[in-house]
Symmetry: C2
Subunit: 334 residues, 2 copies
DNA sequence: TCCCCCGGTGTAAAGGATTACACTACACTG
DNA sequence: CAGTGTAGTGTAATCCTTTACACCGGGGGA
């Protein structure tokens, strides 16, 4: 009555060959004579045969599926990263399983991915809790960490060069506005990137002989709401002299832009604004947002290639890659 | 030298039981005496045992992994949908593999997912090419289609009630502005949702005795750039009397909002604007955007539950669910 | 006392592919 | 003509778990 899904033996029977030959047609055609291959392929077609992935993976010890853990699904930042990773993975014949709760404990990371099916794991964890990192690293043989700060573990890593981008942005602002009217609207103080960006901002000010007042650097979250809230209370009180703000990411900058519009503060005339990330959002704000570009596509692709290379050569030395950042000046700050 | 990963037999040996008992401890603990279970668990712990997913899936015929195909990774719309689906899946003990090129052919859909590992498939395909749909349906035993228009195939489906939302929005605008100054800025004419929304707009105008001029409904794409471009050329020429615009999604509306700001057209005084989707974007624009809310979380969760129910009961009758939409009036249109 | 039932456990048979190894037939070499 | 290499194919072991079925011992009913 109900047709069972065809097995390799069915194909073999139909084509008048052994299962080994059928398998070879699928996996190493060069070992099979063209005539036989043709017959086998036809049999596959007619039966609608598709190899059972589990059986294949069981003996092959490989699923060609990678897991990727991101802090969030939302926002252009992760979308772009994910897209790049997905493309790179596909080009290499791999698939991606995504998960989004990196800020939860590692048990969650573990339970949020079908770990038993993965050939490798890429984790973007910006809350550098050493024990969390340690356990994530233990989750798979081939782990790549993105942007997880310092660590003691042997593992492949990709770092974002927050400091140099933040420096460029700050220098750029300092060239236009005195240090005392330069502000940094930061991300969460528990977030690795946020801290690095804030630190670089402070350091750059210091190098210019200014020691930033406490209200010149404030931490919040990576959201437009935080940027808006900050701006509403900080900018309202400002005299008419121009102010410069370096936001820890584009979302925050976007919020600040909205507040400026409400407050009637002209950008860039009275407010010089620079964001961070260089994601899509920065190109659709009005005015267009100056930003520090993070090479998301490069990071995504590199993460995949590091992971795949480790799968191929488990014993090779661990590598650390730094993704460089670059200031892009647009109309919000000139 | 190098420790092999522990097998179920290792655990069994160490705990002094058979592999069957070990397996039972993991899968149906109620069959095992507490004392034995305790010993086995301890052995698992000590060895760091994790069952081989492939072997398990092979015999179980189930991976508890679902695939989901979306048109895109970008934008709040899909992010929210994905998040809801992911949450629902996780709650049900399933994992999600995502893929993003639904507008490509079905071969691409097939190659973009590790089909051989999936228990089911959820596909959001808004370009209702019948043969594409047909082949996607054939990709897995348990397929759920989201919003793929009419179709002849037996398959579970979720539809977005575009028409009723679009009607409400249009009525809302007609209550404030004469029909001759109501515009619809549509999405791609090949997109199912876009067409339904445009059609409902036109129908509502007709019901009010107005037959929309050709320039009152234009198709473009679901992007801020398109909305901006449309507004720059359409709104510039407008007299000072207020105009109403129903955008086919929030992104487009966002672009229109930007253009209005550039053109110095006050919203909502001179331009009444309503979007569609009700994603996050609509809440962070200035002014806040009236929109037709699509219950993304409900859709995501329902898609998962339909899929899982089909897996459980492959022979049950196919179902079609309609997700209702609802107008949310905010400051951009009142 | 005998039997039945049942909780707890073990044995061994799947599950469906890949691939090491063995083999055949034929073409060449010397 | 014996010997060797090679292209093409088949046989059977293997990957690691789950689970149907068998078994065993003891408590309770008749």
């Amino acid at each position: 009555m109900h047709r069972k899904t065809p097995l390799i033996t069915d194909v073999a029977k139909r084509a008048g060959v052994s299962t080994a030959t059928v398998s070879r047609v699928a996996n190493s055609p060069e070992l099979v004579s063209p005539a036989t291959a043709q017959r086998v392929r036809q049999a596959m077609q007619q039966l609608g045969y598709r190899p059972n992935g589990f059986a294949k993976a069981l003996i092959t010890r490989s699923s060609r599926v990678l897991g990727i853990v991101l802090p969030d699904f939302f926002g252009d930042f992760y979308s772009e990263l994910l897209r790049a990773a997905d493309t790179a993975a596909r080009d290499a014949g791999y698939h991606l399983v995504v998960s989004s709760d990196a800020r939860a404990g590692s048990e969650d990371v573990a339970s949020s991915l079908p770990l038993n099916f993965l050939d490798g794991l890429i984790a973007f964890i910006s809350f550098p809790d050493p024990s969390l990192l340690e356990s994530v690293v233990g989750l798979s043989n081939s782990v790549v960490l993105i942007d997880s700060g310092e660590h003691t573990h042997d593992v492949d890593r990709i770092r974002i060069d927050n400091a140099s981008g933040a420096r460029s942005a700050t220098e750029h602002l300092l060239a236009q506005v005195p240090a005392s009217r330069c502000y940094h609207v930061g991300g969460p103080s528990s977030n690795f990137d946020a801290v690095e960006r804030a630190t670089a901002f402070a350091a750059t000010l210091s190098e210019h002989g200014a020691s930033p007042a406490s209200n010149q650097i404030e931490h919040g979250e990576f959201s437009a709401a935080w940027g808006y809230a900050w701006a509403m209370q900080a900018l309202e009180a400002q005299p008419s002299a121009p102010v410069a703000v370096f936001a820890a990411n584009d979302e925050i900058a976007f919020g600040i832009l909205q507040a400026a519009s409400v407050l009637g503060i002209a950008v860039p005339e009275r407010l010089k604004l620079v964001g961070f990330d260089g994601a899509r959002l920065s190109t659709i704000t009005m005015p267009e947002l100056s930003t520090v570009q993070v090479p998301l596509d490069e990071i995504g692709a590199r993460a995949i290639s590091l992971c795949i290379e480790r799968i191929r050569a488990p014993q090779s030395p661990y590598r650390a890659v730094t993704a460089s950042t670059r200031l892009i000046v647009r109309s919000s700050s000139r």
